[in-house]
């Protein structure tokens, strides 16, 4: 019995992966939309049920690892299998659960789309890839799943492919992710070269190869190989680069706001709850690899991203963009947690964040959905995602309002919510971490605090602007009062999520994160003991100030009279997203300007953001190489042909048709031989 058990779970897990994939295959071959939702939802619900089953049986149990031979290359056999431990089952449940809700939500949200079967198919692919990602026991498979989620994200962002912005955003997302993937790949090379295997359990397990490798006088020595110690750092950075791109961390974050061009349901599932968290997941999976340098890099990147994205979110007006930056910011938070060694905190926050951020997006989707109806009905032209165009919707769409409010509070981290628990876990750990370090490192926890207050501000701003006050656009809205809450398919997932944002799901004690079962599931450190003052002071301080911030926000946005100047430098700095897109532009444009005339036609191909950096420089290179190809390499060949013709002409030159010329030439040739011989004799 004991032996059979693990196999059963592994097989079930495999089924959980394959079910959405089968749905994908079935829908790829589908000719029309009929019944498409059924396949998709059946697939994901079964997956969810299986996940719950596995979760309930294996949480906090011995990990389960089963493998089969995949292929053999040289002496190395790649084995592929499924690794079920706390991290993967948690992620499984999270992914399938949220997916299921988003699937249900999508029934109504995407109802009228003519290509909806494709949409379901893509979602199926995403779910399968994501599940594979979390369960993979081999870094190569993980990488494959990693790219596949990127690919499905590409498909889903560009789902409305006739929209140029959407297809551009999709491409940008894919290419930026590719940059990270290259890092991931390089990481793989290093690990494979160093350890000869890519098996996660072998590498990162309890007495895995990574831990047993030593760094000794600038050499990183494993049992089979050794290389300079810098490669250890490079490996860490490389893997982290993959995570940076996937989790939209600075400097590869610009794709995420653009990805909002996709359907909102997709944004909520992929770009808020699950896929973007894969970066954090990866860091958690391979955590033993990171040395201090890399951890510091992770910390700083996470912190900076969190701060930067939060400040940007302050001034954005597009409802989805605010949420996107919020996501970036929160992901930065999780990275920060990873960097300071609070893996458990990071994962915990990942889990809680998944619920409330998904909910925020779904609610935003509900708003957009409703406004889109209105727009269509009244035949009006206004930006349905601009929060400046909304207001006072609290009464018209109460369910949306309340669910979103719950999610926002969770995001801010007020007590009784899940966010309170996870955010505190990270903050407190950050303070503890800084304590053991030099003074300069105290910047880290304090900045984190600042970020959480900024979070409180921007999300309050969102809520107040959308739901409070009055409807801002007056003219032509005859039917404004026909606005109502979404249909049931959308409403109930939101309500369920709202419930999940509250504390009971995660902890028995609403105020003490230490009691959270998720944290305890990850080999809790002694920091879970309330050993010092931080555990008390910080939650109190955070919440007090957060509430103050919310009040200020309320005064500014709801009560008339207080208004902030929206044209000062800081405001614009924030509104323009720290000018990152521009910086990426300018960094390239200036050097390129000198060549502008020569390559201007390539401008049409230029992509923005960081892609500009590589893209424009790349295009410049490509222009140069094309030029080299045409005028140097090819010309050299053609000139050779010309040379041949010239030699031919030279020989023809003698062929004048006069026999006496021939004779003279012939004799001159002969004489040359004589003369040469003669002189060589003389010398």
């Amino acid at each position: 019995m004991e032996a059979v058990e693990p196999q059963k779970y592994v097989l079930l897990a495999l089924v959980a992966v394959l079910l959405p994939f089968c749905a994908f295959i079935r829908l790829l071959l589908a000719k029309n939309t009929s019944g498409s939702a059924f396949y998709a939802i059946t697939g994901i619900s079964l997956s969810f049920i299986i996940s719950i089953f596995i979760f309930s049986n294996t949480w906090n149990e011995q990990f389960i690892h089963q493998q089969v031979d995949w292929f053999t290359i040289g002496g190395t056999t790649f084995r592929v299998g499924i690794l079920i431990n706390n991290l993967s089952v948690l992620m499984m449940v999270l992914v399938t659960g949220i997916s299921l809700l988003v699937h249900v939500y999508s029934i109504a949200y995407m109802k009228k789309d003519p290509l909806i079967h494709r949409y379901w198919g893509y979602l199926g692919l995403f779910c399968a890839a994501m599940l594979l990602l979390v369960m993979a026991d081999n870094l190569l498979v993980l990488y494959m799943a990693w790219e596949l989620v990127g690919f499905s994200s590409y498909l889903l962002i560009g789902f409305w492919f006739t929209k140029d912005a959407a297809s551009q955003a999709a491409r940008k997302a894919f290419i930026m992710n590719r940059i990270g993937d290259i890092g991931f790949l390089i990481g793989l090379f290093i690990l494979y070269t160093q350890f000869g295997t890519l098996d996660i359990q072998k590498l990162f397990g309890q007495d895995g190869l990574v831990l047993s490798a030593t760094v000794h006088s600038d050499l990183w020595i494993s049992s089979i190989n050794q290389m300079p110690a810098t490669w250890l750092t490079i490996a860490g950075i490389a893997f982290f680069m993959g995570a940076v791109a996937k989790s939209a961390q600075f400097p590869l974050h610009t794709w995420l706001p653009d990805a909002m061009e996709g359907p909102t349901s997709v944004s909520s599932l992929i770009h808020a709850a699950t896929m973007v968290a894969a970066g954090v997941f990866l860091v958690a999976r391979i955590f033993p690899l990171f040395n201090d340098t890399v951890l510091l890099v992770i910390t700083i990147t996470g912190l900076f991203t969190a701060l930067m994205a939060a400040t940007i979110a302050l001034t954005q007006n597009d409802i989805k963009r605010i949420l996107a930056f919020s996501t970036i910011s929160q992901l930065g938070f999780m990275m920060l947690a990873m960097g300071i060694g609070a893996v458990d905190g990071g994962i915990f926050h990942l889990a809680t964040h998944a619920f409330f951020k998904c909910l925020l997006f779904l609610a935003a989707g509900a708003l957009i959905h409703a406004l889109a109806h209105l727009k269509e009905k009244d035949d009006l032209d206004f930006d349905i995602q601009d929060i400046r165009n909304m207001g006072g919707l609290r009464t018209l769409m109460p369910v949306t309002f309340y669910t979103m409010l719950v999610a926002s509070i969770a995001l801010i981290g007020l007590p009784l919510t899940s966010g309170y628990l996870s955010k505190d876990a990270i903050l407190i750990r950050a303070f503890e971490w800084a304590e053991s370090k030099a003074l300069i490192f105290t910047i880290v926890p304090y900045t984190a605090l600042l970020v959480s207050w900024l979070t409180a501000f921007y999300i309050s701003r969102l809520i107040f602007k959308v739901f409070f006050g009055k409807w801002r656009l007056q003219k032509g809205f005859k039917n404004i009062f026909t606005l109502h809450d979404s249909p049931a398919e959308m409403k109930y997932p939101m309500i369920i999520l709202a419930v999940c944002c509250l504390f009971p799901l995660f902890s028995s004690n609403p105020l003490l994160f230490e009691t959270s079962w998720i944290l305890n599931g990850f080999h809790g450190t002694n920091s879970l003991q309330r050993v010092n003052a931080y555990h008390t002071i910080i939650p109190a301080a955070v919440n007090t100030i957060s509430i103050m911030v919310m009040y200020i926000c309320y005064r500014w946005y709801v009560k008339p009279g207080y208004s902030i100047a929206n044209n000062n430098l800081l405001y614009r700095f924030s509104e323009n997203q720290w000018y990152f897109n521009c910086i990426y532009d300018v960094l390239v444009v200036k050097p390129v300007n000198t060549f502008a005339k020569a390559i201007f036609w390539f401008e049409r191909k230029v992509v923005d953001g960081l892609v500009n950096l590589t893209g424009r420089a790349g295009l410049l290179f490509s222009a140069i190489s094309a030029w080299v190809d045409e005028y140097i390499i090819d010309a050299a060949v053609n000139n050779l042909a010309l040379l041949a013709k010239k030699i031919g002409d030279f020989t023809r030159h003698f062929q004048t048709g006069r026999v006496q010329h021939y004779l003279v030439t012939m004799l001159l040739f002969v004489l040359t031989v004589f003369v040469l011989k003669y002189f060589s004799q003389l010398l």
Binding site: Q660, V664, L667, L668, L671, F674, V675, Y678
Partner: protein, 176 residues
Amino acid sequence: MNMEQVVFYFFAAMVLVSAFLVVTMNNLVRSIFLFFVTLFSIAGLYIFALADFVALAQVVIYVGGVLVLMLFAFMLSNKELLNDLKLTKRTALYNFPAILVSVIFLFILINVIVISKPENLNWLQNRINWLQPSDNSVHQIGIQVMTRYLLPFEVVSILLLMALIGAAHIARKDKI
């Protein structure tokens, strides 16, 4: 300088002068007749090399055959040629390559002759093998041709027949 030498150098001079004139003269008729003189003089030189039969053959074949043939050809190709020839005179410059080549050639040939020291050649030292003025060269050649050189002799006959047929064919009027 004995009589033999006087006559030899006289002939030699004749050969060279007449040859030179043949070559420099633009009038074809005159040059053909001077060519006759040259050939005659060469035949004379052959006698000094104790090759009377060859000298005879030279006169018969060259003077009697070649020269007459040339005259025929010249006459067949009628007098317009003469006018044609007078019209265009060539400058020395135009002939420069020809002169150059000839002079270099001469230089080289004489050089070859001088450095190879013909009098000292190994095989010449065998005095028994020297031809004596008293030898009957016709006799000798007759025997040689019928024995040692029988094959070339026969082959040349075929060659001549072929040349005859071919030349006749080419020169024949194109009518049947």
